[in-house]
Amino acid sequence: MTDSGTAGHRISRRRFLATAGAGLFAILPNRGHAGQAARRIGPNDRVRVVVIGNGGMGTRHTEALCANPQCELVGLCDVAKGRSMPLLEKVKTWLGQPVPVYQDFREVLARPDVDAVFVVTPDHWHPLLTIMACQAGKDVYVEKPVCTTVEEGRAMVEAARRYGRVVQVGTQQRSIPVFQKAISLVRGGRIGQVTHATAWVGVNGWQVRQENYTDPPKGLDWNLWLGPAPWAPFSMERYMDWMGWHDYARGGQLTNWGIHLVDVLQWGIGQDRPLSVQALGGSYRGNAGQDNYETIEAVLEYAGVTATWEQRHSNTHGGKGYGIAFYGTDGALFVDRGSFVVETADGRREWVGEPEKSWAYPPHHDNFFECIRTRNRPAADIEQGFRSTSAVLLAGIALKTGGKLRWDGDREQFIGNAQADRLLRRAYRAPWHL
């Protein structure tokens, strides 16, 4: 559901249209550029990158990129100057010099000298930014979840393939040694044939709160922030806690952490197309009207494997507040970002990995840059990121529809449920379109 333009709020859409500038309503203003494909990166060249989205996650990426000799930061971009300007001050410290700052990403895409962009915006912008960047000839690193609907995700994959772009997804666990080691054990048969896997996390704390509508802060282009999402007047509650709102994040913790953990789950079992999905949940302490539930239990069925997603209060397994567990005929393996534990008839062994320093993981960046040079598919290619995202999106759809949904992973639609199929896509607010 949306909460667009509740009666009585005079901070209206019309006012924004008037102030946003005629450029927004040029004939088809989706594209602000003429398509110019990026140059070929030589072995001694540095990849020129711009980070779009300068909030917390964007700051982490920017810091890591400034320290990476394989790339050169050549710009920052955010619809809110209140985010990009403080980050610019840090960049000056890190690089010893400023970089250009943009408010409208289309200006970034129009720069022929930009090789790649990092998309670190709220979720609802991930698909369109990625597609438009591909259409602008840029390679893309896009944060997870890659999309808010299955249709968007497929369009992103198509764009990457159609225009021949490298698109890496921010599921950096694919590049973290502790996961690579754990998965090599699972795939190598250490615990026998895996018949069940589970991913778990704590409760979803992002909530839809009572909104107090005000003017947007100075320097924030609210209309551009909303982008393809339905129009809604500005409130600080919506802007700061967008993860609780279904229009911007389709699941809260389900899509925030869900994709990371289900990605590893699917990696371990070697499958990415569930046969069916069922889910139950709700917000039982209050806030019954929000779509991003607090507590969720979902079951995904794969060929030969049942998988569960658990999201609830006080959720620990073996003392770990999140993680993935694989259960096989000869034992079990538990893994999180810090360690993995193998329990077999031989006993229990725990291996501790390097402590995680940042959510922006340099080796994952390096893999991206290397693939820009070789044009090979990266470790977390967009197709894979889409499959991991779509698994949790399907769980979200099952929450809404009730019952067991059977999924055709090749045709990417439900079997015998046209009503549920409608939830695989969403309309975009004009002038934006996929």
């Binding site: 949306t2 004939i27 398509g35 494909a37 259409q135 000839g137 917000s283 209050g286 009207g289 070789t374």
Partner: protein, 718 residues
């Protein structure tokens, strides 16, 4: 009077009914509350969030009955109330139709919700309520439900966006036709028309789609026409190509570049659709070439290059290489390389190899890496060749690709590469090699061997304790001769427990055969020590597979020297009773009545690798007979031992005149079929064996070990 009585009775009934109703209403506070739908709706609308959360779970169970009350709450201003009502209505809309026991299917609850929402659109409802109803519409409207009330909202600017969204997400043919009609209506505001047109993007397959798209393509408004192009791109039908291509090619020169891009991008999407649909491949390739030659921007040209590669064949290779000679080569090099990587098929691979020297070095490296990872047989072979013969950067890329692609030869290639370039840092290879080993262990013998070779690299070069631990586990599961140095170190440290004994035995045999007798025997002892009866046969087979058993005689305790007498008369029905109830008389100088004449003792010293005595060869082919075999075992001290025998057919054993075992059976011979505990005196011990012959093969073998199956110090008196 009668009328008065009737009136009085009626009044009394009314009073009683009223009293009954009064009793059915909510009791006083403190009494037990009956939870009715009304109560639940009140709770949903109340101030207590937790109570509302509980009501939210239960209300949908009332199905269609709850709809009117929920719609009223949907109109409320308080966000928690209307949001919860919204979710309840959505839940109800998804409920299946109830089925009665007489198999009648009632209307699904969705119908009640749809009717209620239609009412909202038709009444003069508040803007907020209409918006919420529009948000529900996609989950509620079925194909036959008339969207007209919603279509009428397109004329209200403040609701147009929400109405378009609802119609787009509902996407029934009626909804889409209505939106298309709105977009085609040139009397309307152009901005509104464009918005409506955009709402159709991505939706195809409804019967009017292509016709609508053509009309929009011909629209005088270039923005609407661009959307028409995009819609027509969804068709992929050859009949639509010329209209689309013509529109792209005849744009006025002053049209903004961004809009020009939309038309050409539509052409590209159209050809992608046509190529994917199949049946018009040659047309699609021709269209891609047309776009590549004519596109006004390098992104569209990139798409054409990718299209030729994704859907094309070897005939696309010259096109992909030709872009490197264009003025805009710098922008097309990436898609050219991506395209070369995307091509499939042996002919395409051959076409690329034929032009190998024309390719820039970075292209060659990228291609061999890709082919090593996921190429077909031809490409993989080329990658294999480059992994051994190319210059370092290309060689490295090829090896890396082969490791990623789990190629059987990858482990060897990597070992050779690392030997050739000792300065190569191993860190970057570690995790890919682990993944490689993990995949290969599931394969055939060659793949398992490759996994072991990979594990060997990890053991030798990794500095990570956990990696080395796991790699040793893999190596122990499949020990390879190349790992001798590692396994020797493990022998010295006593770390070979858990290794499959037959695998150890096979390795021991290889080591002995290759001249490392001392370590091979050490490994063989490990394999034999504590082997279960089931495994000991496997171990013996593995140890003798290379024909080296004579060198293991001492270790295996094989008895090779016998005195044999026969064939002696014997009947199957007698078993070991009768002539063989007691130990036969042993007089090596005697001449005895055998089957078919007199027989004397013979000395047998030529036996098989495991001491097999071929009685049929020594004594002749007979049926229904028996043979006696005797040897003298000398041990330095009293010993408890295990005599491990195999026989064809039955066997009975005496040690120092005492019967210790018999097995009257009909079988073929195999090593260690019977394990017989025996007690030996210090010095000389007589071992007597009778072996029966029913028909066919005839023989026996025996070896003597300690109780654990390990070597026993003994000698045989010749």
């Amino acid at each position: 009077m009668r009328k008065v009585a009737i009136a009085f009775v009626a009044a009394a009934c009314w009073v009683m009914a009223a009293a009954a109703l009064e009793g059915a209403s909510l009791p006083a506070e403190g009494d037990r509350i009956t939870v009715t739908l009304d109560v639940l709706l009140d709770r949903l609308a109340g101030a207590d969030d937790q109570v509302r959360a509980q009501a939210r779970q239960i209300i949908p169970r009332y199905g269609a009955d709850a709809v009117p009350g929920l719609v009223k709450l949907l109109a409320r201003e308080e966000a928690p109330v209307w949001r919860t009502a919204f979710i309840c209505l959505r839940d109800i809309a998804h409920q299946p139709a109830p089925v009665t026991m007489d198999q009648r299917v009632a209307a699904p609850p969705r119908v009640a919700v749809q009717r209620a929402l239609a009412g909202v659109f038709l009444e003069n409802a508040s803007e907020a309520l209409v918006r919420r109803a529009l948000d529900l519409m996609p989950q509620v409207w079925a194909e036959g439900d008339d969207p007209a009330p919603v279509v009428a909202l397109l004329d209200r600017p403040e609701l147009r966006e929400a109405a378009l969204r609802a119609l787009n997400e509902t996407a029934t043919p009626m909804c889409l036709d209505a939106v298309a009609r709105f977009a085609e209506d040139t009397s309307r505001d152009p901005v509104a028309r464009r918005e409506a047109a955009m709402a159709l993007i991505g939706l195809s397959g409804w019967s009017e789609a292509s016709a609508r798209a053509r009309r929009l393509l011909a629209d005088p408004d270039p923005g609407v026409a661009a959307v028409g192009a995009r819609l027509l791109a969804e068709s992929g039908e050859p009949a639509d190509w010329s209209a689309l291509r013509s529109a792209a090619g005849s744009l006025p020169p002053d049209i903004p570049d961004s809009l020009r891009f939309e038309f050409w991008d539509a052409c590209l999407r159209f050809v992608d659709r046509a190529a994917r649909a199949g049946g018009q491949w040659e047309l699609a390739m021709a269209w891609y070439r047309d776009i590549l030659a004519s596109a006004p921007d390098t992104v569209t040209a990139s798409g054409a290059v990718m299209g030729l590669a994704r859907f094309g064949d070897e005939t696309a290779v010259p096109d992909l290489l030709a872009v490197l000679d264009r003025p805009d080569a710098e922008q097309l090099a990436n898609p050219a390389l991506s395209g070369l990587l995307a091509l499939r098929g042996r002919a395409a691979g051959r076409a690329i190899v034929d032009r190998w020297e024309q390719l820039p070095e970075d292209f060659r490296a990228a291609i061999v890496e890709h082919w090593g990872t996921s190429g077909g047989d031809f490409e993989a072979e080329w990658a294999n060749d480059r992994a051994r013969n190319a210059d370092r950067p290309v060689r490295r890329a090829a090896v890396r690709g082969m490791v990623k692609g789990s190629r059987t030869a990858a482990a060897e290639c990597l070992a050779a590469y690392l030997d050739a370039f000792p300065d190569e840092p191993f860190d970057a290879w570690e995790l890919p090699l682990r993944r490689y080993a993990a995949e290969m262990v599931w394969g055939d013998e060659a793949m398992k061997r490759a996994a072991a070779l990979a594990a060997l690299q990890l053991v030798r070069r990794s500095k990570d304790e956990e990696t080395v631990f796991e790699a040793m586990r893999w190596l122990k599961a499949y020990p390879v001769p190349e790992a001798l140095d590692v396994l020797k170190a493990e022998i010295r440290s006593g770390g070979l427990s858990g290794v499959p004994t037959d695998a150890l035995a096979a390795l021991a045999a290889t080591m002995i055969r290759d001249g490392d007798r001392e370590n091979g025997l050490a490994l063989a002892r490990e394999a034999l020590a504590g082997a279960s009866p089931e495994n000991s046969g496997k171990i013996l087979t593995a140890l003798t597979a290379g024909g080296i058993a004579p060198e293991l005689t001492e270790l295996l305790g094989v008895i090779r020297s016998w005195q044999v007498l026969g064939p002696l008369p014997w009947q199957i029905s007698a078993g070991f009773s009768g002539a063989f109830a007691e130990e036969p008389q042993i007089d090596f100088s005697a001449e005895v009545d055998g089957s078919g004449g007199k027989v004397t003792w013979k000395s047998v010293k030529e036996t098989g690798p495991l001491g097999e005595v071929n009685l049929a060869g020594v004594l002749g082919m007979v049926e229904g007979a028996a043979a006696v075999a005797v040897c003298r075992i000398v041990v330095p001290d009293p010993a408890k031992a295990v005599l491990r025998c195999g026989s064809d057919d039955g066997i009975k054993v005496w040690v120092n005149g005492k019967a210790v075992f018999e097995n009257d059976c009909d079988r073929g011979m195999a090593p260690d079929q019977d394990l017989i505990p025996v007690e030996l005196n210090a010095g000389e011990n007589r071992l007597t064996v009778v072996v029966t012959q029913r028909a066919g093969g005839w023989g026996f073998q025996a070896r003597l070990t300690d109780e654990q199956g390990g070597p026993l110090q003994f000698s045989v008196v010749p």
